[in-house]
Each structure stands twice: as structure tokens, then as C-alpha cells.
Amino acid sequence: MNFNPVKLEILNNQLASIAEEMGQALMRSAFSANIKERRDFSCAIFDRNGNMLAQAAHIPVHLGSAPLSVKAIIAACDLGQEDHGIVNDPYCGGTHLPDITVVSPVMAPGQESPAFYVATRAHHADVGGAQPGSMPLVTTLAEEGFCIAPQRFTDDVLTQLQSASRTPNERRGDMLAQLAANRVGQKRLAEWLRERGFAQAEAETQALLDWSRRMMMDVLSRFPQTTVSAVDWLDGDGLGTVEIPICVKLSVLPEKIVVDFSESAHQVRGPLNAVRAITVSAVHYVFRCLAPPELPQNDGFMSLIDVVTIPGTIVDATFPAAVSAGNVETSQRIVDVLFAAVSKVYPDAAAAAACGSMNNVLVGGETATGHPYVYYETIGGGMGATRHCDGASAIQTHMTNTLNTPIEAFENLFPIRIERYEVRRGSGGAGLRRGGDGLIRSFRFLRDATITVIAERRQLGPPGCLGGKSGQPGVDKLEHSDGTTEILAGKAVRLVRSGSRLTIETPGGGGFGAPDRSP
């Protein structure tokens, strides 16, 4: 079916603005700082087969993997008009346990089964497990927290989640906020559907998916038909395995691209394992970056890309491996290695590596009034430089785009004081174009607490490109209340006493081009 381009653009934006409105409802009614202040959530709209039709521009790592959650819900339960589905099981539609996805159906008038779905995915600051924040240094999924297989959302699930979590009231409020957002989406999408009828709506959304596929086809047509490969390494899993390779082989075929991660390392003991959904999400992100900005935000183009992974590897972990950091750290390295490969066939995409870590800090304890709290934050770093541009400093890169917690909001909520929040000057790699500088954030603990730090690029800094220098690796320093100082090795869990101070210095981005050449 042919559609007037203006009408197609309106349609695309109609769906995207429904997703935006869902995001507003979620942010405004949520209770945890991670959702309401940092906006660590995403909202999207799906067709009845679970293809993503539109998204609000939120968090890349969520968006590329969300379709698998929706498909898992579709497979597991027949949702009626009043039902919602819920899932966080990384081995069945989820990514890591803190990310809980709620899926709600939208029925066409007179039809029994859903015509469309809306979904929200939000990062819940604590879903149980060995350490506050649910990203502990453990070896199995069971120790990471409460696992929800794809199922109908019931009061029972909510009660179980609340009893597993260290912050049950916050969980309830946040889950209600996710439902609130989904109801907003359902209402708007139902109105939209009523205006055009199911047949027309399906034809139009198919046209949207085709549009995205055609635009990506145009991008890929500029690639020479060849095979290239690249490799990069993760520092280590925090439990003894170091220098873990992620390898990619990129083959450009007529009208298709094969992205093959078969040569990557076996899954590891520690929680760095990524489930396949994350790998797909990282591939989605990289190709999305290559397309012009007007590419409609849907899944249509993914049919042009085959992602090959072998179960049991670091990029396609199998049960019962621990996976909490695969979502936040391994995803970033998959992006680095894939960009390295892509730039060999598409020099416009050549860029130095960015920060390469989400620099996760998790803290749990009690406030002065005896209320339990859990705080989660990811800290930005330096962006890698490109041929035409220095890398931006102090910014969230690639797979995440969460905001910082405003210091004033933070200190009103938690018994911790922020003592420094600065640009880490000189940490960006030198080059014809400089890498962006990282950040420094210092936390003074006013009461005893348990902290977890999960960070990467602590051994070697993010590599430069075409002669550019590497950015500085990150440093995580813990000054204990007894006066001793400890450098944490990128991944650590510690009990800290009141008065201790944790300082995170995040990596700078790599430089581009040899520094001595004049621009």
C-alpha cells in the first residue's frame, strides 16, 4: 500500500508521542530516584507480533531488547482487555533482573486478541539478591534477585516482588507507575485505533516498518561486499577471569549483513555475561547510529541484519549464569568492537572508543529514621573523538542516556553527601581530535552502608582511532573511615563505615588521528 510521505511521518510521530506521553506519566508518578530523577526507563509500542513500531527516545540498551520481552509475553499468556503482562527473566525475554518490563494489550473493537501492545521497561533499584541494588558479584542468576518468568501481572507477583526487595514500598509505587504509564498508552493507542480501524492501522504500521527497512537498505548499499573482523577485551569478571575477548566478524552480503560473534569468549563465572537480547540490542544501536536521523524509530530494519551468537558464550549466556552486568558493561564493549569492524567497511563511522563503561555505583543501607534505602547511579564519561569532532566531555555514551541524580534531590533522599562532581580534566585521549574528558564524583557516607561498584576500562583506557591516543582508564578509590585508602579493581562489594568516601573517576574517550599532525 502506498502512503503519502507526510501522512507516514505524522503516523510515525503519533505513535512516538504516545510513547513519550507514557514516559511522562511514568516519570511523574514514580517513587524511586532512579526512575523519577534519572529516567532509567523506556516506553515503546508494538504490533501484535511483537515488532517495535515506535519508541520514545529513552535508553538504547532497553529499546533494542524490548521486542523480545513482548514476544515472550505473547508466547506465555493470552492477555485480555484488563490484563497486563510482566517479565524480568533474562533467560526468557528479559535482560537483567532489575529491568522489569510491563506489557499491556490494546484491543481492536470487536476483536478478542490484542491488535497492538504498549510496554514500559524500568530499572528498579532493588529486586533482592545478595547485595543492595541487585547487581552483586555472584555466579548464578538465583543469587542476583527475584526472577519473574513471563506471566500475567497479579497482586501475587507484586507481593512477592515486594517481599524480595529491600525497599518494598518503593517497588509498589514504581510498579503502579509503570501500570499508570501503560494505561495512558493503552488509552491513546485505542483512540488512535478507533479513528482508522484495525485493517487500516495494520497496513499503516506495516508501511512504517517497510520505510525503516528501505532507509537502512540505502545505508547498507554503500558498504562494499566483504568480510571484516575486530576484537576487544573486557577487563575481567571480578571473580578471577581477566581479559575476556569479544570478537565480531561482519559480512556484507547482497541485501543482508551478518554480524557473527561466534569467536567470543565462553561465559564467565562473574556477572558480566550478556544474554542474547543485549547483543541484539547493541547491534540495533550501532546500525541505528549509521542511519540518517530521520530513520523512523522502529524495528523494520533489523530484518536486514542477522546476528549470530553461540549459546554459552559471553554474548549469549545460558542459565544459570549471572548476568547483571552484561546489560550495562558487556553491552558497551559489544558496541566498541562492532564500531571497530564497521569502520573498516564504512570509514564515515570511524570513531575512537568512548568511555566504555556505565560506571555503576550501588549503595544500600538505612536512613537515620531506620528506613531502608537503595541507590543506583551510572556515571558518564568521555565520548570518543571522530574525524571531524572532539569527543564531548562528561556525557553518557552509547547504550545508556540516563540523567544524573540532582545532588539536591539525592541528599534529600539518602544519608550520603556528594563532595565533588567535576570534569576529570586531561583524561581524554590526545589526537588530531581529542577524546572527551571523564567525570569525578565523590560520595561521603554518613552512615554505614554496603556498596557495589561495577565498572570497566579500569586496566586499559578506551582505545584511540587512526593514531589517536587512548583515554585514561577509570579509577575507583575508597577512603575508609580508619584513614586507609583502597583502589577498587573495577568490580567490588564493600561494607563501608560512616565517614568513608568513595571517589569514582570515569574513563576519558579515545583520541582520533595522530596528535602531532596539525588540523
Binding site: 507526510v6 511521518e9 505524522i10 510521530n13 503519533q14 505513535l15 512516538a16 508521542s17 506519566a25 516519570m27 511523574r28 508518578s29 514514580a30 517513587f31 530516584a33 523519577k36 530523577e37 527516545a57 538504547p60 514500598n169 518503593e170 509505587g173 503502579l176 507507575a177 501500570l179 499508570a180 494505561r183 544501536y285 541505528r288 547510529c289 536521523p293 570513531a351 556515571i379 558518564g380 565520548m383 571522530t386 571531524h388 569532532c389 564531548a392 566531555s393 562528561a394 556525557i395 553518557q396 540523567l403 544524573n404 540532582p406 545532588i407 539536591e408 534531590a409 541528599e411 534529600n412 553527601r417 556528594i418 563532595e419 565533588r420 562532581y421 567535576e422 570534569v423 567525570l439 565523590s442
Partner: protein
């Protein structure tokens, strides 16, 4: 030297020739990038002056217009929409400003919220901070979230900081410290100490302000950014308003704010950041008045001036947002939601590096203006293209007071046409098509990009250049109806005559309300009373009569644990009202969770006496074109001759003093009882 053009714009009845017998009248002045419009209304008559803006000193044109008007009438008040703050920010020519923060936080502007605006870009960018690194200073001292001083304030560094500011020629210092939205003591001490130092040392005067002064709201990044932008534009604004105030005395100056309300010059200068969208807000107010009278409540405004184009979408009310972005800066404050693009009639056409024809953002501005003005401009502009295409009849521009030179326009387009290998005519059409594409994109941002189909809206076209493009834009976007108000080039100024005095006050209170309790805590009631008194005093200052006042009290409420509030009108049932609103917005309510009253708000309005627009019965008839017998390709109609009920079938051109309207083939224009041209697609 200022060229003064003056005409009478007559609605009905003869103009009163007797100056003495008239009471002093209010005047509205809108400064644009190209023209300055001066407008007054009395005795059923609008009287207007349109004169070239004087960008080197915008007050020059304003004062010239005022003194011209004064020959005939006495002036009571001057309502003014100013672009001084906007231009200062856009061109980055504001005051040299320094920032003082707590130790450890001098990078607050550089870091921002650490997120990026482009999700899928290999080279995301952040806006260049207004304050260079060397002027971001720190002082030891820290107040915690509960108000306790946990690090004592150390003022010993201030003399050194001040030395460096003075040596660097810094004019403004913003002191922004954590938790000052509620505990401003440190900020105030630093401000006081600096002021004292400046006095003792006899330093040049320095504008020193506290970050929490303007918007005492939590979240340090947005609050500091707003305070810094405010200081950055304030000296330019203050100097400008002072000059105007002196120049128009004894008439009183009133400044239009970005929220569509009116304020005193001292208030406007103090919160200069609030005037960033002043002029365009006037246009939206004016359009809303006019559309309201003809029963249209869903419309898009299209204000195409010489230098830029402003668009807004009104869906049953004037769109107001509580934070806004200008020049990539996220700012606090309620403003009319306006989208601006840097293209207008004076925008210059050129061929870019990729060989494509581009229009704007550089503009021929007021001086020298488009080539066809014959004032020394040689670069091809959109206006020149319109002259070449015969859409802008040379002898009728600005009521014939500003002749347009076709040969100069052709000459300006020649180099471009040679590079493109096109005829001058085709080149002119190309420029027009590109300009239309830029405008279509702007209109899409406020409609299509929000999922709203333009087909459901009417396009209201104003600004001198708007009428020449509006119908074509409507065709592209499938908009069925275009309205061109009477005096399209003066609508922003006209809107100012309809604006009310408006004072918005808010104070953070952070008081808890237990579940089930409805009684508002005494501290909150006290705060509301204090704010009400402040608001009343502000209205006193602005001379608003007591019977013309409207005061609205409200509270921002949320559940304890949430970060965003719902504004609830103040009543005896706060909790009940909040619960109902929360249930409606999000589909849930929590009976066991206490509420938190975050802020108390008072909005005070002083209603002004707006001009009374008269309506005349429409009697359907065909309008009569001018008998020019010239080489014009289309019949030309003079707007002043059109009476209610007149009909014009496109293609046709309607000329008038403040703008030109083109009705294309397939469209029919009807003049309504308010003398708007209401244009609809035929068939």
C-alpha cells in the same frame, strides 16, 4: 537616521482631529529584527507606524516612532515586546559573567545533566557554557539538605576572586550554592560580602546575584543555568529599558514577558530571562483574541518576519510550558510555547558546499535590507525572489512609502541563477520553494512531530512576509483554512494591547499532610498569605485598580516519595482534590501514603481594558481589483478597500500597509465582519 513611515489605519468612523479632547492612549511597540512597529488604538481607530529597526541601538527606532505619534496624541503607557535579551543570548554578546559555587562543583554548567540530546549520534554535542572555565570559582562552605551547615563558609577567597573578576572585566557574578532553594544563607552571605568588598574597594559596579533569587526551586543544574542566563542578558536589558523609560516619560513603560503577561520595567530587567520570547508571545495573544472572535479554537500561528519565523500551536488554549529551551539552554519559567526558525523575508539565499540552494539563517536584516529596497543590499533574499515573481507589487510596499526596485532584485539573483544554470525566474521560484520547505518544517515540529495532523487546524498568518507564503504552506500540509488578520504586520504589537498584567509567585514549602487529614498546615496558609500580599503589592506598583484584579492560589502536591507534583487549587479539601486528580492522571491513588505540599503558588492578574474590535455585518459581493493595467500577472486588491462580505478568487494579491497576501489559484478569500481575510480551498 531613522526613516519614519506613518499611516492611519482606519476601522470605522472619522479620526478625532482634536488632540486636546482625547484622554492619553496606550501604545504598543514590537521590535523585530527588521521592523519596529508602533501601534495605538483609540476611538475605534488603530494608528500605526512601521519603521526600520535600529539593531545597533533598538531604542532609537522605538523613540522615533513614539515621538512621531506624540504629534497627534498623548500617550499614557507604552507596552513593549523586546528582542534585546534574545539577541544578546543568541549572538553571545552578553555580559562577562562569573560563577561562584560550593567547593567541588564549579563544573556544574559544563556537566549539566550528563545526558545527550541526540541518542544515535557518533558525535553528540553539548552547548558551549556561557561562562568560561577561568571564571568559574569555588568557595569552601556547605549546607546539607536539612539546612545544617556542615562546612563553614570561608569568605577569605573572595578578595582574590573579585580581583580576578575585575581584572577580566567581569560585569556580573552569580552565586549559586547547593540547597539554596530552601536554605539561601550561604548564597546571601557571599553576595553580601562581595557587595561590601566592591563598595570598600571602590571597584567598578558589579551586578551580583544569588542563584535562588529568581526561581527558588530544587535541582541545582536548571536553577543555576537560569540564573546565569538571566545575569548574562540583564545588563543589556537594564540599559535598554532605562533609556526607553527616560525617553518616553511621563508615559509609563510596560514590558511584555514570555508568558504573555505584562510587567514593570524594573521587574522585567530583574528577570530578563523572562523576556526571551516577549515579542512572539504578543503575537500569540493577539492571534488568540482574533481567532476567539471568529470561533476558531484550534489553530497554528505563523509569524514570518524579516529575520525569523515564529510558530505556535494553540489547541483550545494558549500553550504555556514550565521550562523551555533557548539556544540549547534548559531554562525554568512559564512561557508561551513558541518554536522559532532563523528564516524570514530578509533571509539570504546561497549555494552550500554540497551544491544545494539554502535560505537563511543569515539575513540582510534592517540594514541594508533586501537588494530591492535600494539601500545598498546586494545579496539575494526571499523578498527579492518574491519581487521578481511579481508577488510583491513594487509600488504598494508599506503603503507605497518604501518603493521596491525590480531591477536591483534581478541583479541580486543573477549570480545565483548563473551558478545554478537556471533563469532568474526559475531561481526566484527555487528560493521561494526552499523558504517554504523551511517554514513547513517549522510547522511540522509543532504539529506533525507531536502526532497532531495539521489538517485539523487553521493557519493564522501574520508578520509582514507571512501572507505571501501561508496558502502554499497550507497546501503542502493539507491545511484547509488560512486566516490573515487585519494589519498582519502589526499583530504582535496588537497582542500587547490585549495582554493582562501578570505576576506569578511561588515558594517552596515542603510540608507533609498525613493520609486523611485535609486541614492545610498553618505554615502553608501563612506562606500563601505572604505571597498574596506580595502579589497585591506588585499590582499596586503597576497601578492596577482593585476591581480589575484576579488572584488565584494553588498548591503543588505529590505523594511523599514522588518527585513531580500536581497543582491543586487551594481549597478546604486539598487531599481529596489531589487524590481525584492523581487518580485521573495515573489511574491509581495510595490511601496509606502521606502527601507532601511542595510549593505554594499565587498568580495575580490585573485586567487591562483591551481595544474593542467592532464587527460589521457581511454582505456578500465580489471585491474590485485595482485597475493597474500594469504588467502584474495577478489582479491586485487594496486591503483598505475591502469591506465585510467581499470575495476574492485566487490567483490574486492583496496589498496593504503592513503586509502582502497572496491567494493562489484554487483558493477563495472572504472578508469577514472583523475584516480578516478568511481563505479556504475551493472544492
Amino acid at each position: 537616521m531613522v526613516l519614519v513611515v506613518c499611516v492611519q489605519l482606519r476601522y470605522h468612523g472619522p479620526m478625532n482631529p482634536n488632540r486636546i479632547s482625547l484622554p492619553p492612549v496606550p501604545v504598543a511597540v514590537d521590535t523585530g529584527g527588521t521592523f519596529t512597529d508602533v501601534l495605538c488604538f483609540y476611538d475605534g481607530v488603530f494608528r500605526a507606524i512601521k519603521l526600520p529597526s535600529t539593531p545597533h541601538d533598538p531604542a532609537e527606532a522605538v523613540l522615533a516612532g513614539i515621538s512621531e505619534l506624540r504629534r497627534d496624541v498623548e500617550i499614557s503607557q507604552v507596552f513593549h515586546g523586546s528582542t534585546v535579551a534574545t539577541n544578546t543570548l543568541l549572538q553571545r554578546v552578553g555580559a562577562k559573567t562569573a560563577l561562584i559555587t560550593n567547593q567541588g562543583f564549579r563544573d556544574i554548567l559544563l556537566i549539566g545533566r550528563q545526558n545527550r540530546s541526540e541518542l544515535y549520534s557518533l558525535s553528540p554535542t553539548k552547548p558551549e557554557p556561557l561562562i568560561p572555565e577561568e571564571w568559574c570559582f569555588e568557595v569552601p562552605g556547605r549546607i546539607a539538605a536539612d539546612g545544617q551547615e556542615v562546612v563553614p563558609l570561608d569568605l577569605s577567597l573572595l578578595p582574590d576572586i573579585l580581583d580576578r573578576c575585575v581584572a577580566g572585566g567581569v560585569q556580573c557574578i552569580v552565586v549559586s550554592m547547593l540547597h539554596s532553594y530552601r536554605y539561601p544563607a550561604h548564597e546571601q552571605h557571599v553576595v553580601g560580602a562581595l557587595q561590601e568588598l566592591v563598595r570598600q574597594r571602590n571597584d567598578p559596579p558589579m551586578d551580583i546575584s544569588a542563584g535562588s533569587e529568581l526561581f527558588p526551586e530544587m535541582r541545582e543544574v536548571e536553577r543555576t543555568t537560569t540564573a546565569v542566563v538571566n545575569s548574562y542578558v540583564r545588563p543589556a536589558m537594564t540599559g535598554y529599558l532605562t533609556k526607553l523609560e527616560n525617553g518616553i516619560a511621563p508615559a509609563k513603560l510596560r514590558v511584555l514577558l514570555s508568558n504573555g503577561g505584562i510587567a514593570t520595567p524594573s521587574h522585567a530587567a530583574r528577570s530578563a530571562v523572562y523576556t526571551l520570547l516577549s515579542g512572539p508571545a504578543g503575537g500569540v495573544v493577539g492571534a488568540t483574541e482574533i481567532m476567539g472572535r471568529i470561533g476558531v479554537d484550534r489553530f497554528m500561528t505563523f509569524d514570518m518576519g524579516g529575520t525569523s519565523t515564529d510558530v505556535a500551536l494553540c489547541d483550545r488554549s494558549i500553550p504555556v510550558v514550565n521550562n523551555f529551551v533557548v539556544s540549547q539552554f534548559s531554562l525554568l519559567g512559564s512561557v508561551v510555547d513558541i518554536h522559532t526558525v532563523g528564516a524570514g523575508g530578509g533571509s539570504v539565499a546561497k549555494i552550500d558546499a554540497g551544491g544545494a540552494l539554502r535560505v537563511g539563517p543569515s539575513s540582510a536584516g534592517a540594514v541594508p535590507g533586501p537588494a530591492c529596497y535600494g539601500k545598498g543590499g546586494t545579496l539575494p533574499t526571499v523578498t527579492d525572489a518574491n519581487v521578481v515573481l511579481g508577488l510583491l507589487p513594487a509600488e504598494h510596499f508599506l503603503g507605497g512609502t518604501q518603493p521596491l526596485h525590480l531591477p536591483l532584485a534581478i541583479q541580486a539573483l543573477k549570480p545565483l541563477s548563473e551558478s545554478l544554470g537556471l533563469s532568474v525566474q526559475d531561481t526566484a521560484q527555487g528560493i521561494r520553494d526552499v523558504a517554504n520547505a523551511v517554514m513547513v518544517r517549522a510547522l511540522k515540529v509543532i504539529s506533525v512531530a507531536r502526532g497532531l495532523d495539521p489538517e485539523g487546524f487553521t493557519l493564522v498568518s501574520y508578520g509582514g512576509a507571512g501572507g505571501l507564503h501561508a496558502c502554499e504552506l497550507a497546501s503542502i500540509l493539507m491545511i484547509p483554512r488560512v486566516v490573515v488578520p487585519r494589519f498582519p504586520g502589526l499583530l504582535c504589537a496588537m497582542g500587547m494591547l490585549f495582554s493582562d498584567v501578570r505576576v506569578d509567585l511561588a515558594q517552596t514549602v515542603l510540608a507533609q499532610l498525613e493520609p486523611g487529614a485535609d486541614l492545610c498546615p498553618a505554615t502553608v496558609v501563612e506562606t500563601l498569605t505572604t505571597l498574596t500580599h506580595q502579589a497585591s503589592r506588585a499590582l499596586d506598583d503597576q497601578g492596577v485598580d482593585t476591581d480589575k484584579r484576579v488572584l488565584v492560589r494553588a498548591l503543588d502536591v505529590r505523594y511523599v516519595g514522588q518527585s513531580f507534583e500536581i497543582t491543586v487549587p487551594f481549597s478546604s479539601s486539598i487531599a481529596g482534590h489531589f487524590t481525584a486528580l492523581h487518580q485521573r492522571a495515573y489511574g491509581f491513588a495510595l490511601a496509606d501514603t502521606p502527601l507532601e505540599i511542595v510549593a505554594a503558588r499565587v498568580t495575580a492578574k490585573g485586567l487591562t481594558d483591551p481595544p474593542v474590535l467592532t464587527y460589521a455585518r457581511e454582505s456578500i459581493h465580489d471585491a474590485v481589483p485595482l485597475d493597474t493595467a500594469s504588467r502584474q500577472p495577478f489582479p491586485i486588491y487594496r486591503r483598505e478597500h475591502l469591506t465585510p462580505g467581499a470575495q476574492i478568487r485566487g490567483p490574486a494579491i492583496v496589498v496593504e500597509y503592513s503586509g502582502t497576501t497572496m491567494i493562489p489559484y484554487g483558493w477563495l478569500g472572504k472578508v469577514d465582519g472583523y475584516l480578516n481575510i478568511d481563505i479556504g480551498r475551493l472544492g
